[in-house]
């Protein structure tokens, strides 16, 4: 399958995605924004602990930084909705988009309790739609990384 993100000669990124995929990718960041206004446990990978062996410093860190991290994630998710409908974006846009796609993957993976071991599935397993979306997001992140890595020094 061809990479849906293609770096063009003028330095922009051409995005080629089917309509239904674009609709889905416009919808998901909005769902993420809604979820981030709650304290759903599936968000824990998006707001990790910084001081894992010092409760006092951890509380202080979260007091100052959690809001900043939330604002940064909210703004990124809002931009991602716009990228989903665009045919041409900048490399910076792609970086921000990949970040959001990865955040979605972290939430979904946490919900599905993904581990490094293969998951044994029966055909009627109710985790299948979630896992399909998880794998689609992983594919997009990997494709995005391929383009973004080219702009980084060897």
């Amino acid at each position: 399958v061809a990479n849906p993100f293609r770096l063009t000669s003028n330095g922009t990124v051409k995005v080629t995605l089917a309509k239904w995929k674009r609709d889905l990718l416009a919808e998901l960041p909005q769902q993420l924004r809604d979820l981030m206004s709650t304290d759903d446990p599936s968000l824990r990978r998006l707001f990790p602990v910084a001081y894992h062996d010092d409760d006092e410093r951890e509380a202080e860190y979260q007091r100052y930084m959690r809001e900043e991290l939330l604002m940064s994630r909210m703004a990124a998710a809002e931009r991602a909705t716009v990228f989903a409908t665009a045919t041409s974006i900048t490399v910076d846009d792609l970086g921000a988009w990949v970040n959001v796609l990865n955040s979605l993957r972290l939430v979904l993976g946490t919900r599905l309790e993904v581990s490094e071991d293969d998951i044994a599935l029966e055909p009627d397993d109710d985790r299948i739609p979630g896992l399909q979306l998880y794998s689609f997001l992983g594919y997009l992140v990997d494709c995005g990384v391929r383009v973004l890595s080219r702009g980084l020094p060897d």
Binding site: A50, Y51, D54, G138, S149, P153, D154
Partner: protein, 102 residues
């Protein structure tokens, strides 16, 4: 290095001085990145390159350390800088923590 003719004095430490915070200030802070089953290896390598400016080879080898050994030290230095890196790694969805070096 001490000159040989200077008598070596063994400092006597009270229990308090062992936990003196002025000594703690000298120990650098380290940022650790922990293995997780969700983030892609290619993504983690790219984040290391982007956040720390590492070469692709160095970023890749650190990513493999995280993956194979369960964690890797990606930074060592002052606390404020360590916090800044932890924040940036969190922004990218990596599982990073910090602690004072032993």
């Amino acid at each position: 290095m001490q000159n040989q003719w200077v008598p070596v004095v063994t400092p006597i430490r009270s229990p308090e001085s062992a936990t003196d915070t002025s000594l703690d200030l000298d120990r650098p802070w380290v940022v650790l990145v922990w293995n997780d089953p969700i983030n892609l290896m290619s993504y983690v390598t790219m984040v290391f390159q982007k956040v720390f400016g590492f070469s692709k080879a160095k970023a890749h080898s650190l990513m493999l350390d995280v993956h194979e050994k369960g964690r890797a030290t990606v930074f060592s230095g002052p606390r404020e800088k360590a916090e800044m890196y932890v924040f940036r790694l969190h922004e990218h969805g990596l599982w990073a923590t910090m602690q004072q070096d032993d």
